[in-house]
Subunit: 369 residues, 2 copies
């Protein structure tokens, strides 16, 4: 477990994102061993970490490639030399499709679509002589976010892609974000089975039409343990590298613990100690994403303490009765609320490694476009 009083932290001004490289490595090798044991591929999601350094560790552990959520991410990861990139969000405007076509000319990428218009523009942009771009059909498996809603649409788009010289039909994506965070493990297992049933129906229709879906991609940290024997050929797991208060709730309350450990924290300084039973730290809404349960793990705060947001720059920590507050100016490590958007609030990871030395790794493509 990290120590907020680590000498190397003295030079870091707060709030700052701190990563335990030992816990990170154990999470990465644990997921890799799980996938290998089940003969399934991993294409871990970069929207969680936005770090080519972490992507490289995932690839070294056997990942097929890396998933990206934005064009900016796929550009940054391609430039960093990361292979096997998949863009998991359909892109609908011409300017971004142009950027994708540019990346596709120099790197082997794959993307998803959910509308015929996207295929038309891609064909126009890629031109005749280019290496075919691998395109998957995105299927709405119940999240009501992106994707086609019926088997006929999947078939129609797969046929359009197959008929386009500049494109190659790569398979299907069914991402079930609504399933990953269900707290109860039995409920999550049942919901994941419904999603796999939907994908099976689409795959049968493609098989009947003699269209080969080489890739079936989806799942996530919450449901991957149920999804390894399903129709998926690969898993888009993201949060397992860091874990957070959100997945901590699944661990504590859900039954069927996830075999990963918290590696990511926000280092904060105690800035006010005048009130009985509580104190204030300099990590608020601009340092910890708001969309998750408040952190239940705070190293450096008395056991049983609870956190509440105090606006942009402050968090208030209430101690259990009889506890003694940390000293003004001392440090606390706060578990992240929801890891992905918390990472996006910071410019760097401060990575605690061998012999407790600290390296800084940049967070890339933070602008979301």
């Amino acid at each position: 477990m990290l120590d907020p009083d680590l000498p190397a932290f003295q030079d870091i001004q707060t709030p700052a994102l701190v990563l335990d490289s030992g816990a990170l490595a154990r999470n990465i090798s644990g997921m890799a061993a799980f996938a290998k044991a089940h003969g399934i591929g991993l294409r871990p999601h970069a929207k969680t970490h936005k770090s080519p350094r972490i992507a490289q560790l995932q690839l070294e552990a056997g990942a097929l490639g890396i998933s990206c959520a934005t064009v900016a991410e796929i550009e940054a990861f391609a430039q960093a030399g990361i292979p096997g990139l998949l863009l998991t969000s359909p892109v609908a405007d011409r300017a971004k499709l142009e950027r994708l076509a540019r990346v596709a000319r120099v790197t082997d990428i794959r993307i998803v679509v959910d509308h015929a218009d996207q295929i038309g523009v891609l064909c126009e942009l890629l031109g005749e002589g280019s290496r075919p771009l691998q395109v998957l059909v995105d299927i709405d498996v119940g999240q009501r976010r992106t994707g086609v809603c019926d088997v006929a649409s999947t078939l129609a788009l797969a046929q359009l892609i197959s008929a386009a010289p500049a494109l190659r039909f790569g398979g299907i994506q069914g991402f079930a974000g609504h399933v990953q965070h269900l707290i109860d493990a039995d409920e999550r297992k049942a919901a994941a089975a419904v999603v796999r049933g939907i994908l099976d129906a689409h795959l049968r229709a493609l098989a009947d039409a003699k269209i080969d879906a080489a890739i079936v991609t989806g799942s996530g940290t919450g449901a991957c343990s149920f999804d390894a024997s399903g129709p998926y050929t690969e898993l888009q797991v993201g949060s397992y590298v860091f874990m957070d208060a959100d997945y901590g709730r699944l661990q504590r309350e859900g039954g069927g613990a996830l075999p990963y450990e918290p590696s990511l924290f926000v280092l904060a300084t105690v800035t006010s100690v005048n009130r009985t039973g509580e104190f204030t730290v300099d990590a608020g809404v601009k340092a910890l994403a708001f969309n998750g349960p408040t952190p239940e793990l705070m190293i450096g705060a008395p056991a049983g303490s609870t956190y509440r947001f105090g606006g942009d720059e402050h968090g208030m920590i209430t101690m259990s009765p009889g506890s003694v507050a940390p000293k003004l100016g001392s440090r606390v490590l706060v578990l992240t609320t929801h890891c992905d958007p918390t990472v996006n609030l910071h410019a760097y990871f401060h990575v605690v490694g061998h012999n407790n030395g600290v390296e800084t790794w940049p967070v890339l493509a933070r602008y979301g476009s």
Copy 2:
């Protein structure tokens, strides 16, 4: 009202922060006129906009100076030549107090403290011959975040500051973040009166001890209309420049409308249109802060539409029955949820000005330290 199909927006990739300079100018001059009519000063808060360009407009309209929430903000604004800076958060670690002492050597700043330890370190760092740093006592007026909790502490700190050659006692701060967002106007008015009563008690004790509190700073956009005749000498208003869904709720439901208009939006692209009755845009948790009501104003979406978050990169917009979805790839302007943390998610404002031309203004000091 801004138009999502403005030709100048075609070159902007989404999600992007868009600012209506006309509405911004009206909000700034409206607040300036209010303050002038009541003979009260304004030190608007930069944590809302993190933009020296906007600070400059506030100063040109008569503001005394600008408030900052972090040392990084006060450094960035000092470097941009913004005068009259006040740091509204007490700082408790030596490294940041050193940074403040460095800024204080070249620029006229003022800061707040809530503990004697801070005064001790400041005296040590500033040295004998320096121009005295103006220090205010931060008072907890009920938010339970920072500040001293009783009159005796205010008096003790004011005496310590007054006795220190490197420091000058500047007055008191009582920021009531818990009051600004109360929806009901009568409830907000009553809560603001309680806060002013607390400050009056501290001011009486200082007066009895013959200590002059030149500055009494606090209030905000939600309560400023009640606070102009109180003990405050200046108001730390922030959100009035942009307004947002949070203050929109006060406007709609609270009675006693605030005389400011929405100027800040997130420009988003329609990325999925397959579902009946709804569509998806590329603005999610990484483009719109989560800690506010979801936006009720979406220009380019059918009237009566509602937004829900769809993860890091997506938002789903449900239309009222019978509405026709916008075309795939078209643009929507989404009112911000809570303006301050939304600005912090973006690197630039795209500012729509004269003749609908667009300038980019950077968002500074986004790392929170």
